[in-house]
Symmetry: C2
Subunit: 144 residues, 2 copies
Protein backbone atom coordinates (compact mmCIF):
# COMPACT_ATOMS: atom_id res chain seq x y z
CA UNK A 1 0.00 0.00 0.00
CA UNK A 2 2.65 2.50 1.03
CA UNK A 3 5.14 2.25 -1.85
CA UNK A 4 2.88 3.81 -4.48
CA UNK A 5 1.20 6.25 -2.11
CA UNK A 6 2.79 9.29 -3.72
CA UNK A 7 1.01 12.56 -4.38
CA UNK A 8 -0.82 12.16 -7.70
CA UNK A 9 1.39 14.39 -9.87
CA UNK A 10 -1.07 15.85 -12.43
CA UNK A 11 1.18 15.29 -15.43
CA UNK A 12 1.68 11.60 -14.68
CA UNK A 13 -2.02 11.34 -13.92
CA UNK A 14 -2.92 12.70 -17.33
CA UNK A 15 -0.46 10.44 -19.10
CA UNK A 16 -1.97 7.44 -17.31
CA UNK A 17 -5.44 8.59 -18.38
CA UNK A 18 -4.28 8.98 -21.97
CA UNK A 19 -2.69 5.55 -21.96
CA UNK A 20 -5.98 4.20 -20.68
CA UNK A 21 -7.74 5.86 -23.62
CA UNK A 22 -5.27 4.34 -26.06
CA UNK A 23 -5.74 0.94 -24.44
CA UNK A 24 -9.51 1.16 -24.81
CA UNK A 25 -9.34 2.24 -28.40
CA UNK A 26 -6.77 -0.39 -29.25
CA UNK A 27 -8.81 -3.12 -27.65
CA UNK A 28 -12.06 -2.11 -29.33
CA UNK A 29 -10.50 -2.01 -32.74
CA UNK A 30 -8.62 -5.23 -32.12
CA UNK A 31 -11.84 -7.05 -31.23
CA UNK A 32 -13.51 -5.55 -34.28
CA UNK A 33 -10.70 -6.66 -36.58
CA UNK A 34 -10.84 -10.17 -35.11
CA UNK A 35 -14.61 -10.23 -35.52
CA UNK A 36 -14.30 -9.48 -39.21
CA UNK A 37 -12.43 -12.75 -39.49
CA UNK A 38 -15.00 -14.56 -37.37
CA UNK A 39 -12.60 -14.81 -34.45
CA UNK A 40 -12.88 -13.75 -30.83
CA UNK A 41 -10.16 -11.64 -29.26
CA UNK A 42 -8.71 -14.60 -27.38
CA UNK A 43 -8.64 -16.73 -30.54
CA UNK A 44 -6.92 -13.93 -32.44
CA UNK A 45 -4.30 -13.58 -29.73
CA UNK A 46 -3.52 -17.29 -29.75
CA UNK A 47 -3.39 -17.34 -33.53
CA UNK A 48 -0.99 -14.41 -33.59
CA UNK A 49 1.20 -16.12 -31.01
CA UNK A 50 1.31 -19.34 -32.99
CA UNK A 51 1.93 -17.53 -36.28
CA UNK A 52 5.26 -16.48 -34.81
CA UNK A 53 6.20 -19.89 -33.46
CA UNK A 54 4.54 -23.22 -32.67
CA UNK A 55 4.18 -23.78 -28.95
CA UNK A 56 3.08 -26.35 -26.35
CA UNK A 57 -0.33 -25.67 -24.81
CA UNK A 58 1.32 -24.83 -21.51
CA UNK A 59 3.45 -22.07 -22.95
CA UNK A 60 0.49 -20.46 -24.70
CA UNK A 61 -1.31 -20.31 -21.37
CA UNK A 62 1.70 -18.75 -19.70
CA UNK A 63 2.00 -16.07 -22.38
CA UNK A 64 -1.70 -15.26 -22.22
CA UNK A 65 -1.71 -15.32 -18.42
CA UNK A 66 -4.54 -17.79 -18.14
CA UNK A 67 -5.03 -21.39 -17.04
CA UNK A 68 -3.87 -24.16 -19.40
CA UNK A 69 -7.31 -25.72 -19.34
CA UNK A 70 -8.69 -22.70 -21.19
CA UNK A 71 -6.25 -23.11 -24.04
CA UNK A 72 -7.70 -26.52 -24.81
CA UNK A 73 -11.01 -25.00 -25.89
CA UNK A 74 -9.52 -22.07 -27.78
CA UNK A 75 -7.20 -24.31 -29.76
CA UNK A 76 -10.10 -26.73 -30.29
CA UNK A 77 -12.06 -23.95 -32.01
CA UNK A 78 -9.10 -22.76 -34.06
CA UNK A 79 -8.41 -26.35 -35.05
CA UNK A 80 -12.04 -26.93 -36.03
CA UNK A 81 -11.69 -23.99 -38.41
CA UNK A 82 -8.51 -25.40 -39.89
CA UNK A 83 -6.34 -22.52 -38.72
CA UNK A 84 -4.28 -24.52 -36.25
CA UNK A 85 -3.25 -28.13 -35.75
CA UNK A 86 -1.91 -30.17 -32.85
CA UNK A 87 1.35 -32.02 -33.38
CA UNK A 88 3.26 -34.42 -31.13
CA UNK A 89 6.48 -33.25 -29.53
CA UNK A 90 9.56 -35.24 -30.52
CA UNK A 91 11.20 -35.18 -27.11
CA UNK A 92 8.27 -35.49 -24.69
CA UNK A 93 5.21 -37.55 -25.51
CA UNK A 94 3.10 -35.70 -22.95
CA UNK A 95 3.47 -32.46 -24.88
CA UNK A 96 1.26 -31.34 -27.76
CA UNK A 97 2.53 -28.59 -30.00
CA UNK A 98 -0.02 -26.20 -31.46
CA UNK A 99 1.04 -24.90 -34.86
CA UNK A 100 -0.63 -22.69 -37.46
CA UNK A 101 -1.66 -24.23 -40.76
CA UNK A 102 -1.01 -22.44 -44.05
CA UNK A 103 -4.53 -21.03 -43.86
CA UNK A 104 -3.96 -19.95 -40.27
CA UNK A 105 -0.78 -18.16 -41.26
CA UNK A 106 -2.71 -16.36 -43.99
CA UNK A 107 -5.49 -15.27 -41.63
CA UNK A 108 -2.93 -14.15 -39.05
CA UNK A 109 -1.27 -12.08 -41.73
CA UNK A 110 -4.55 -10.47 -42.80
CA UNK A 111 -5.34 -9.81 -39.17
CA UNK A 112 -2.03 -8.07 -38.70
CA UNK A 113 -2.80 -5.91 -41.70
CA UNK A 114 -6.29 -4.97 -40.60
CA UNK A 115 -4.63 -4.09 -37.32
CA UNK A 116 -3.25 -1.16 -39.25
CA UNK A 117 -5.88 0.87 -37.46
CA UNK A 118 -3.27 1.45 -34.79
CA UNK A 119 -1.12 2.89 -37.51
CA UNK A 120 -3.81 5.40 -38.45
CA UNK A 121 -3.52 7.74 -35.47
CA UNK A 122 0.26 7.57 -35.84
CA UNK A 123 0.10 9.00 -39.33
CA UNK A 124 -0.45 12.40 -37.77
CA UNK A 125 2.99 12.25 -36.19
CA UNK A 126 6.23 13.14 -37.95
CA UNK A 127 9.06 10.63 -38.22
CA UNK A 128 10.91 12.46 -35.46
CA UNK A 129 7.89 12.34 -33.20
CA UNK A 130 7.37 8.66 -33.83
CA UNK A 131 11.00 8.05 -32.97
CA UNK A 132 10.58 9.89 -29.69
CA UNK A 133 7.42 7.94 -28.99
CA UNK A 134 9.16 4.66 -29.75
CA UNK A 135 12.03 5.43 -27.40
CA UNK A 136 9.70 6.49 -24.62
CA UNK A 137 7.55 3.40 -24.97
CA UNK A 138 10.66 1.22 -24.95
CA UNK A 139 11.80 2.78 -21.72
CA UNK A 140 8.32 2.54 -20.22
CA UNK A 141 8.33 -1.17 -20.92
CA UNK A 142 11.82 -1.59 -19.58
CA UNK A 143 13.29 -2.54 -22.94
CA UNK A 144 16.95 -1.56 -23.10
Amino acid sequence: MTPSARPPDPLTFEVVELIGAVVNRYREEYEEAAGKHGLTGAQARVLRLLSIEAAPMRRIARKLHCEPSNITGIVDRLEARGLVERRPDAGDRRVKLAAVTDEGREVASQLRESLDFAREPLSDLSVEERTVLRDLLRRMLGVD
Copy 2:
Protein backbone atom coordinates in the same frame (compact mmCIF):
# COMPACT_ATOMS: atom_id res chain seq x y z
CA MET B 1 -8.37 -3.12 -48.44
CA THR B 2 -6.51 -0.63 -50.55
CA PRO B 3 -6.54 2.45 -48.33
CA SER B 4 -4.29 1.03 -45.61
CA ALA B 5 -2.17 -1.05 -47.97
CA ARG B 6 0.91 1.09 -47.47
CA PRO B 7 4.41 -0.28 -47.20
CA PRO B 8 4.90 -1.33 -43.58
CA ASP B 9 7.28 1.45 -42.51
CA PRO B 10 9.47 -0.27 -39.87
CA LEU B 11 9.36 2.61 -37.40
CA THR B 12 5.57 2.78 -37.36
CA PHE B 13 5.49 -0.99 -37.19
CA GLU B 14 7.63 -1.01 -34.07
CA VAL B 15 5.60 1.72 -32.42
CA VAL B 16 2.43 -0.28 -33.08
CA GLU B 17 4.08 -3.35 -31.56
CA LEU B 18 5.15 -1.37 -28.50
CA ILE B 19 1.67 0.07 -28.07
CA GLY B 20 0.37 -3.48 -28.23
CA ALA B 21 2.78 -4.45 -25.47
CA VAL B 22 1.63 -1.53 -23.33
CA VAL B 23 -1.98 -2.50 -23.96
CA ASN B 24 -1.34 -6.05 -22.84
CA ARG B 25 0.50 -5.00 -19.73
CA TYR B 26 -2.15 -2.43 -18.86
CA ARG B 27 -4.94 -4.93 -19.26
CA GLU B 28 -3.25 -7.63 -17.21
CA GLU B 29 -2.55 -5.30 -14.35
CA TYR B 30 -6.00 -3.78 -14.56
CA GLU B 31 -7.64 -7.19 -14.26
CA GLU B 32 -5.33 -8.05 -11.38
CA ALA B 33 -6.16 -4.84 -9.54
CA ALA B 34 -9.88 -5.47 -10.04
CA GLY B 35 -9.47 -9.05 -8.84
CA LYS B 36 -7.93 -7.87 -5.59
CA HIS B 37 -11.22 -6.14 -4.92
CA GLY B 38 -13.20 -9.22 -5.93
CA LEU B 39 -14.35 -7.56 -9.14
CA THR B 40 -14.14 -8.61 -12.76
CA GLY B 41 -12.72 -6.25 -15.35
CA ALA B 42 -16.16 -5.38 -16.69
CA GLN B 43 -17.49 -4.69 -13.21
CA ALA B 44 -14.51 -2.45 -12.45
CA ARG B 45 -15.05 -0.51 -15.68
CA VAL B 46 -18.73 0.09 -14.89
CA LEU B 47 -17.91 1.08 -11.33
CA ARG B 48 -15.29 3.56 -12.52
CA LEU B 49 -17.74 5.03 -15.00
CA LEU B 50 -20.43 5.45 -12.34
CA SER B 51 -17.98 6.88 -9.82
CA ILE B 52 -17.61 9.81 -12.18
CA GLU B 53 -21.33 10.28 -12.81
CA ALA B 54 -24.59 8.34 -12.38
CA ALA B 55 -25.96 7.11 -15.69
CA PRO B 56 -28.93 5.33 -17.28
CA MET B 57 -28.28 1.71 -18.17
CA ARG B 58 -28.39 2.56 -21.85
CA ARG B 59 -25.60 5.09 -21.63
CA ILE B 60 -23.35 2.69 -19.74
CA ALA B 61 -23.78 0.18 -22.54
CA ARG B 62 -22.93 2.78 -25.15
CA LYS B 63 -19.75 3.81 -23.33
CA LEU B 64 -18.65 0.22 -22.88
CA HIS B 65 -19.55 -0.66 -26.46
CA CYS B 66 -21.73 -3.60 -25.52
CA GLU B 67 -25.42 -4.49 -25.58
CA PRO B 68 -27.68 -2.94 -22.92
CA SER B 69 -28.87 -6.38 -21.83
CA ASN B 70 -25.37 -7.13 -20.53
CA ILE B 71 -25.38 -4.13 -18.26
CA THR B 72 -28.37 -5.51 -16.38
CA GLY B 73 -26.31 -8.41 -15.03
CA ILE B 74 -23.20 -6.40 -14.29
CA VAL B 75 -25.15 -3.78 -12.36
CA ASP B 76 -27.08 -6.61 -10.64
CA ARG B 77 -23.82 -7.98 -9.28
CA LEU B 78 -22.47 -4.59 -8.28
CA GLU B 79 -25.79 -3.83 -6.59
CA ALA B 80 -25.77 -7.18 -4.77
CA ARG B 81 -22.42 -6.17 -3.31
CA GLY B 82 -23.75 -2.80 -2.24
CA LEU B 83 -21.44 -0.83 -4.50
CA VAL B 84 -24.14 0.52 -6.80
CA GLU B 85 -27.85 1.25 -6.59
CA ARG B 86 -30.64 1.80 -9.11
CA ARG B 87 -32.62 5.00 -8.86
CA PRO B 88 -35.67 6.22 -10.78
CA ASP B 89 -35.24 9.03 -13.28
CA ALA B 90 -37.28 12.13 -12.54
CA GLY B 91 -38.20 12.93 -16.13
CA ASP B 92 -38.76 9.50 -17.68
CA ARG B 93 -40.22 6.62 -15.75
CA ARG B 94 -38.80 4.08 -18.15
CA VAL B 95 -35.25 5.07 -17.21
CA LYS B 96 -33.26 3.65 -14.32
CA LEU B 97 -30.20 5.52 -13.16
CA ALA B 98 -27.31 3.50 -11.82
CA ALA B 99 -25.36 5.36 -9.15
CA VAL B 100 -22.46 4.42 -6.87
CA THR B 101 -23.09 4.12 -3.15
CA ASP B 102 -20.66 5.56 -0.62
CA GLU B 103 -19.00 2.16 -0.41
CA GLY B 104 -18.84 1.96 -4.19
CA ARG B 105 -17.19 5.34 -4.36
CA GLU B 106 -14.63 4.17 -1.80
CA VAL B 107 -13.85 0.98 -3.73
CA ALA B 108 -13.61 2.94 -6.99
CA SER B 109 -11.14 5.25 -5.31
CA GLN B 110 -9.02 2.37 -4.01
CA LEU B 111 -9.16 0.81 -7.45
CA ARG B 112 -7.90 3.99 -9.03
CA GLU B 113 -5.02 4.05 -6.55
CA SER B 114 -4.04 0.45 -7.08
CA LEU B 115 -4.13 1.31 -10.76
CA ASP B 116 -1.03 3.31 -10.02
CA PHE B 117 0.82 0.43 -11.58
CA ALA B 118 0.59 2.35 -14.81
CA ARG B 119 2.40 5.13 -13.05
CA GLU B 120 5.28 2.80 -12.17
CA PRO B 121 6.88 2.49 -15.61
CA LEU B 122 6.46 6.24 -16.04
CA SER B 123 8.64 6.97 -13.04
CA ASP B 124 11.66 6.18 -15.19
CA LEU B 125 10.85 9.15 -17.42
CA SER B 126 11.82 12.75 -16.70
CA VAL B 127 9.19 15.48 -16.49
CA GLU B 128 10.19 16.68 -19.94
CA GLU B 129 9.84 13.20 -21.38
CA ARG B 130 6.46 12.71 -19.79
CA THR B 131 5.34 16.02 -21.27
CA VAL B 132 6.45 14.92 -24.71
CA LEU B 133 4.68 11.61 -24.22
CA ARG B 134 1.51 13.36 -23.11
CA ASP B 135 1.48 15.61 -26.16
CA LEU B 136 2.13 12.73 -28.53
CA LEU B 137 -0.62 10.62 -26.98
CA ARG B 138 -3.01 13.56 -27.18
CA ARG B 139 -2.30 13.96 -30.87
CA MET B 140 -2.58 10.23 -31.46
CA LEU B 141 -6.03 10.28 -29.92
CA GLY B 142 -7.04 13.34 -31.88
CA VAL B 143 -7.34 15.53 -28.75
CA ASP B 144 -6.68 19.15 -29.63
